[in-house]
Amino acid sequence: MKNEQKENSCSQWGQVGTSPLHISGFDHVTGRSQFIDDIPKPRNLLQLKILPSPLAHGKIVRINTEKAKALPGVAAIFTAQDIPGENQIGGIIQDEVCLAEGHVHFVGEPVAIVAAESLEEAEAALGQIELVLEEETPVLTVRDAIAKNQYVGPIRKIERGDVEAVFADCPHYLEGVIRNEGQEHFYLETQSVLAVPEDSGGVTLYSSSQNPNEVQRMAANVLGVLQNQVTVDIKRLGGGFGGKESQATAWACIAALAAFHTGRPAELRLTRDEDMLCTGKRHAFESDYRVAFNEEGKILAYSVELNSNCGAVADVSTSVLERAMLHAENSYRIDNIRVIGRPCKTNLHPATAFRGFGGPQGIFAIESVIQKIAFTLKLDPYDVRMRNMYLKGDIAPYGEEILNAEHVGEIFEKLRTYSKWDERKKNIAVFNAKNKYYKKGIGITPVKFGISFTAAHLNQGSAMILIYLDGSISVTHGAIEMGQEVNTKIAQIAATNFGVPLSYVRIESNNTKRVANTSPTAASSGCDLNGHAVENASIKIMKRLRELTSRLFPDMEVVFENGFVYKAAKGSVDYEEPLITFKDLVKKAYFERIDLCDHGFYASPGIHFDRDKGQGHPFLYYVFGAAVSEVTVDLLTGRTSLDSAHIIHDCGSSINPRVDVGQVQGAFAQGVGWVTTEELVYNEKGRLLSSSPATYKIPTIGDIPEELHIELLEGSLNEQGIKRSKAIGEPPFVYGESVYFAIVDALCSLGTYPEGLSIPATPEKIWLEIRRSTNAGRNE
């Protein structure tokens, strides 16, 4: 028994810094994990279908539901006029209706809801609703929106130094346009919600949302009830990636409305096609830049106008644009810089949060510019980047000191060796000289990513911990589990703080009745904010338990580990004779009438940002990293193959290194998809044509190179992060851009810079650049 205890104490029991298995892993691999559609169906369940707008812009002349209502199995049909509260679900700016009223503003905008006994009957009824629209000309591009002065929010600026003065007199100057298209989230679980009516006109919503608080607020708003009447309960999402931060709200409100009116439970689950057609995506950007630089490639002045295509309503677009602006300089110190952001309003589905949240777009612009500088000066893109890199103590254009800025240069240097940059470049030159129809290229992308919501008030987390008499611990926290394993990490934090094995800790669903007013699980902040809140709750309970142990074991220093309380002296623990088990201690505490439950709260300190001035301290700390990718481009088809990738990433002192590596791998793959194969194709009327996985291509297992190496930066301790860790979710997404720059490098070997190559660099777009380059060659 004693030996066993000793062994346990020395081994890993799930504490912070180790890599225990996925806390829901058993349920996942056995198929028992419940997603929304797997929740046992309540009796009398209604199935919902939405009637989406077929047009991108139009006036509603008539909606006639009489014929559809008369069909068998149809319980009710709702339109905007059936909304008892306010027809308004805009989270930041109140410009978004739940159901279309007067006009439709994008293809897929919900116009009516059918509630029926079965999906088949609901579908049949959809076809019988008469919707008469008067078509209006849609605005689809940022240029058209700018021409019409059509924005979803104010135009913002961040400025330092005097760019115009430098442009007027500089050794080298370039200007141009950088474009990226959007990206579909393609979470595997489509938008889903189950609404169950409750006493006194209330409703419980089981929603696949990253943002229970917003779902609660907006559902209450739409129903015209107090927020305490709406309960939102969320166990897990089948992927979110930002696509369910604000875009799950509409569906939840629609289901709430149906349950409210009929008094029956109602389920709405979008089909993949409906989901892709109706819901928002990553923002497309079209950015105009001007840059001045010297012979060495050092940037003297940089001006960029970031124009984002926000779609029909504001959604979180103003915040996305803000983050793009705050990342416009990426890892480079630029003394003269002007960043302008225009949130353009168009008639596409509302663009929304997507991993990186504007950061990747802002970074893409400056990385493109620096790649062009290197090409222009015939310098190694690595060297040009290194010459501009932030150094310790440097200040960002918005006035904040970049904490630990030296990490990015350090990583860049390490990556040069780790990826064998120089050797690869040599081999590529040899290969390209030999091969007429294939060209290889190599790309490198550094990342400096600011951590915190730029809306300062959102930087708060909350948690509730309950300890039961058998020592088992129930933790509710404000984050949503969507595959990022925030639950595993938070369970590790609780297990560490209470000194119990991970198996004692159960992470509960996020429920608005246990944690209130939570921030969305977004901005990579879920674990930081709510982990801190769990830490604070556990500190409060532990303080009481330690008071008890000090009474039970007077004048003794004790440690809590792996379910036991041990005697400790001068840093060494006596594992031979545990003083008491955690379970027995908890029981004693109960009989002593000590509170075994508590709430925890956390607010990130010192965050502020003045949007009008473009100045402040928006980030608590920064995440750094860099990636190198190598590709081969087939000049005859434009097809690319990704041959290798090397990444060094700084995640502080990782809470769970395997989880963090998994996050880097997953984010990288998403980034690769964004820059290569994932193409949103719209027709001239603003309807998405690539609205299913048959035409929209996210990476498969064959798209990830065998040679993929990821290293976490050693020795990085982040005093600002929970347990000295760093946020992980979004920053590694940017590594995908190294693949784009590898493609650019390969095409540059043809002698011209591929000016027109936007993200995604599809085979066809690459081929167009090859043709342009070949024609340019002929003309010479």
């Binding site: 691999v29 056995t30 992927g239 998994g662 791998q665 793959a669 291509k697 066809e764 081929w767």
Partner: protein
């Protein structure tokens, strides 16, 4: 004739009533309340609803992965359906599940049941799979969280668990296999008055049925299926229903792969109309490696395991991948109907967009593929994504090269017209010319006179035109490469 379906579900015999169009996904989730299977897309493109099917063929039970959304429940007759619920036994995880956990290959968990079952199908059929085989079986399972590296490492963890292939067989397999081998196959017929499904066990039964059920088979009421993957996408997503789905997949005579190898006669490969694409990959690797390689680039293993070359042809998609290759080598189809059979060269089979020589009541009994007439055959395909993607343009060539001169040339191209096009002018142009790069560059203008592509979501007209030309050159480059490889071997 059975009106209910008898099958084994994770080792237990079940009898269920289903409708003609009910899928395995619907059966499991809606009727049997087994929620481990997930719906991610409903069109076979994501693999979240992957399940394993065990079926008897040639005296042994074979296992394959299918997507439950594109596999009709009525097809389950006599088969063994293995779902994620069957994997862990007596509360103990299956080694594949343990390996997935250890490899941290599950994040949000939505794709995990499908991934687990794809891996199971692989290991049940191939004891020591290569990396390529692993990729082949998993490329149809989309995962948006992990980036696949951890999934790719599952076999390493399986090795670490030191399990042999035998341990990966769920315990109920042996007893079920015995029952399956003794299962007496009968025709299945379900009809709710709106939609019907009929699955005969022999051609005689099929012909008999056709003559006795005129009300179901006339006009465009009838649609033959084998895997049914493409037809089901039409049914579920585009409301393209048929009065009768006639499933020929259980007719053993259509399942043959044979060779015509008599002296005096031309050598040929005869593919039965019901032979799945997966079987084509495995069984033509030696005899017609180019066909094997071509098929490997089509759809996913879950679809290939039931879909057929015949289906690929008869769907008449202008971007069908097997068609250019089979056209180039001048394959001949045997169409069978009540009145007997007739032969139609594939080059004459297509009349227009989705229009074929095939009459509604006819089925493709076999495809005769001439062998040995050419010494260089090649297929090229361009799509956005390397795997599990439909071509923007595809192209095939068959050449007989003697002493550096192209004596015979046959070229066919897809995605450049309303049907796959056999290109006689380009073919004739190449003949008599030297096997060198300039010859193929010279054919660029000729091919332009034979095909005028249009643009769509997969590629613009100008891109398709250019690629169509460039693929000619790629055929030549593939030849050059093949010569180099030969050089190394010497």
């Amino acid at each position: 004739m059975k009106k209910t379906i008898h099958f084994f579900l994770n080792g237990n015999l079940k009898e269920v009533q289903v409708k003609a169009e009910t899928t395995v996904l619907e059966l499991l989730r809606n009727k049997l309340e087994l929620n481990g299977i997930k719906e991610g897309c409903g069109e076979g493109d994501c693999g979240a609803c992957t399940v394993v099917i065990g079926e008897v063929r040639e005296g042994r039970v074979h296992y394959k992965s299918v997507t439950g959304c594109l596999y009709l429940a009525a097809k389950l007759e006599g088969k063994h359906l293995i779902t994620i619920e069957g994997l862990a036994e007596k509360g103990k995880l299956h080694p594949i599940q343990e390996a997935i956990l250890s490899s941290h290959a599950t994040q949000c968990g939505f794709c995990t049941p499908g991934v687990s079952l794809s891996i199971l199908a692989l290991y049940l059929e191939r004891s020591n799979p290569t990396k390529e085989e692993f990729r082949r079986y998993l490329e149809g399972n989309l995962c948006r969280c992990t980036g696949y590296d951890s999934i790719r490492k599952v076999p390493e963890y399986l090795k670490e668990l030191s399990v042999c292939s035998e341990n990966l067989r769920p315990s109920f397999l042996e007893a079920t296999e015995e029952q399956q081998l003794g299962f007496i196959q009968e025709d299945v017929f379900v009809d709710d008055g709106t939609f019907a499904y009929y699955s005969p066990v022999s051609e005689e039964h099929l012909i008999e049925f056709l003559s006795t059920h005129k009300e179901l088979t006339g006009g465009n009421n009838l649609r033959y299926i084998n895997g049914g993957s493409d037809v089901l996408v039409g049914i579920k997503k585009r409301n393209q229903h048929y009065r009768l789905l006639l499933d020929i997949s259980r007719i053993t005579s259509l399942q043959q792969i044979s060779y015509q190898d008599k002296p005096q006669e031309a050598k040929a490969l005869i593919l039965g109309g019901g032979v799945s694409l997966s079987r084509v990959i495995d069984s033509t690797r030696e005899s017609f490696s180019e066909l094997s390689a071509t098929v490997q680039r089509m759809c996913s293993e879950q679809v290939r395991s039931s879909a057929t070359v015949a289906g690929n042809i008869v769907n008449a998609s202008p971007v069908a991948d097997t068609v250019p290759l089979l056209m180039a080598v001048d394959a001949v189809l045997t169409l069978q109907g009540q009145e007997g059979e007739r032969s139609v060269p594939l080059r004459n089979f297509f009349h227009g967009y989705k229009q074929t020589e095939n009459k509604p009541e006819e089925w493709i009994a076999s495809i005769c593929v001439p062998l040995g007439e050419y010494n260089f055959i090649n297929f090229e395909k361009v799509s956005k994504r390397k795997e599990v993607d439909i071509a923007a343009v595809n192209s095939a060539i068959a050449l007989k090269i003697e002493e550096g001169i192209i004596n015979r040339a046959e070229v066919a191209c897809g995605g450049v017209g309303a049907t796959t096009l056999y290109l006689p002018k380009t073919s004739r142009y190449l003949e008599g010319k030297e096997m060198k790069e300039e010859t193929f560059l010279g054919a660029f203008e000729v091919i332009n006179t034979e095909a005028t592509p249009i643009g769509d979501v997969r590629g613009s007209a100008q891109y398709r035109s250019a690629v169509m030309q460039n693929l000619l050159l790629k055929h030549y480059l593939a030849y050059e490469r093949s010569q180099e490889v030969d050089g190394y071997e010497e």
